[in-house]
């Protein structure tokens, strides 16, 4: 066997980069017998490895590992000063070398010895006399594993960083604290809002803005699915909404505008369920239109009334024909909007909460909890029967209007 033959064996089927990485690996050969070091060295050189280091005993080996940071060890067991088992123990006790491949070579090969070798932390075993193809195959396998694990974890780290960044960008689509403060002032209300994406990125969004004539607008929306695709669409929807200055005063017209622009660009089967309401802070009149979002609740005392948010979700119909409906949000009342995961998430005991279940929770809690803490208490209860890993994004927003005398 010569080196060119060997590299062509592995070269065709495997990733070239991986082969290059394997061949560039630093290999530390540890044996107290000069002849054995030479045999192993020649074998590896023929196999195409050029980066070889040698140590004569365990003590020297440990020093060289610190100094040269090899990619794999080929380790003899019986050596003066520090033997092979002790080398294994010492390296595995160090976090840095927990996954360093250690290939142990030994002449005697009893079952007990094998057990002891693996128990001391060795990765694999080759028997003496050295069988050259076997040694090369094992070295190559362990180096490839190491490289692949390395590149996978690099990739994963990169993806995680990217997702964190994307998540921060998406968080910035939500209303900022100063905006919420202004809305609270204008509506004489406390706003509670919660938002949590199911896998790093989500398809939920909510927002509010001030409008002329002492009015405010508030919307919640949920784009089908979750993850990267849905998150990208929230950016699209958010950017599109900013274009419609005039129709923001008219919920049905606003949804119609949004649908007209988004319908051609949404992929088949994807859409956004939505609710948009405009509150006149002087007359307390709430004008709203729905596009299939879960029905928002108006909480009055300990009673709840559901707003009719039915309508074609944004993005599916050419002429969705949204209509404006009217209600009131009086001082002392609350408007509560939420995404469907609250009523649809599978509970630990099976089944799901459902709209009726959620309404009865809200009714119960509104008797015992101060209004501005209603949603946080509601979610606390939700998570007490729910695993933290939700199947979908969670949004919950409430405007709690203060009583006139507050």
């Amino acid at each position: 066997m010569n080196s060119s033959e060997n590299s062509s064996v592995s070269g065709n089927d495997r990733d070239q980069e991986l082969v290059a990485g394997v061949k560039a690996a630093k290999i530390l050969i540890i044996d107290d017998m000069a002849l054995m070091r030479k045999i192993i060295g020649v074998c590896l050189t023929r196999g195409g490895y050029e980066n070889l280091l040698y140590a004569e005993d365990g003590e020297e080996a440990l020093q060289m590992v610190e100094e040269h940071n090899p990619d794999i060890l080929i380790l003899d067991l019986n050596m003066p000063k520090v033997n092979g088992y002790e080398v294994c123990h010492a390296l595995r006790a160090n976090e840095k070398y927990k996954s360093l491949p250690i290939l142990v070579q030994s002449a005697s090969e009893t079952d007990e010895e094998r057990v002891q070798v693996f128990a001391s932390g060795a990765t694999d075993f080759v028997s003496k006399p050295i069988n050259q193809p076997e040694l090369l195959a094992r070295v190559q396998m362990h180096l490839e594993n190491k490289l692949m694990i390395h590149s996978l974890s690099d990739f994963r780290k990169r993806m995680e960083t990217e997702l964190v960044m994307a998540r921060e960008m998406q968080q910035s689509l939500l209303p900022e604290r100063p905006v919420i403060k202004e809305i609270e002032k204008r509506t004489n209300a406390t706003i509670e809002s919660f938002y949590r994406a199911s896998f790093e990125l989500g398809g939920d969004l909510w927002g509010c803005w001030e409008l002329p004539d002492n009015k405010i607008g508030i919307y919640v929306l949920d784009i089908t699915g979750h993850g990267v695709g849905s998150a990208l669409n929230t950016f699209r929807v958010h950017a599109t909404m900013a274009r419609f200055k005039r129709s923001k005063n008219d919920p049905a017209a606003f949804l119609t505008d949004l649908n007209r622009v988004l319908q051609p660009s949404f992929p088949l089967g994807q859409f956004a369920t939505m609710f948009y309401g405009v509150l006149d802070c002087a007359t307390h009149e709430l004008t709203y239109a729905g596009a299939g979002a879960p029905r928002p609740m108006v909480i009055s005392g300990d009673d709840v009334r559901l707003l009719d948010s039915s309508g074609y979700p944004v993005g599916i119909a050419r002429k969705p024909e949204y209509v404006n409906l009217k209600d009131k949000l009086l001082p002392g009342e609350s408007l509560f909007c939420y995404s469907d995961v609250l009523v649809e998430a599978p509970q630990e005991e099976g089944g799901f909460l459902g709209e009726e279940g959620l309404v009865s929770w809200v009714k119960e809690l509104s008797k015992e909890v101060e209004r501005p803490k209603l949603v946080s208490r509601l979610l606390k209860r939700f998570f007490s029967v729910q695993s933290d890993l939700l199947p979908d994004d969670l949004t919950a927003v409430a405007i709690h209007r203060k009583d006139v005398d507050e």
């Binding site: 949920d222 979750h226 088949l268 089967g269 074609y312 469907d340 649809e344 799901f352 199947p391």
Partner: protein, 99 residues
């Protein structure tokens, strides 16, 4: 989600059971393939044994509807109750799907 296709000389019924949610994407696409391979003139999605459908599930119905229109068969849904019926009504897909 499980489904069973009963094809009665071109008029087919798909009986669903379990929940139809985001995670059923792959089996739903398989269902559409299965339907495409059969000669159907009309197909009823029987939802009477379905407890829950989420918005991604509704999206799958829309994909089925598109496939029906392209391939020239008629899709309708029947038997929806409880949460499934409210979801179809809330999103007005009941109109669209001839429920």
């Amino acid at each position: 989600m499980d489904y069973k296709i009963n094809n009665n000389g071109g008029s087919a019924t798909v009986v669903f059971s379990g929940d139809i949610t985001f995670s059923e994407n792959v089996s739903f696409r398989q269902l559409l393939k299965d339907i495409a391979e059969q000669q159907v003139e009309s197909c009823v999605f029987d939802l009477s044994s379905v407890d829950m459908v989420d918005s991604a599930g509704l999206g799958m119905f829309l994909i089925a509807r598109e496939q029906a229109e392209t391939a020239g068969w008629k899709l309708s849904v029947s038997g929806a109750q409880g949460h499934v019926a409210s979801m179809l009504k809330l999103t007005k897909l009941s109109d669209l799907l001839d429920g």
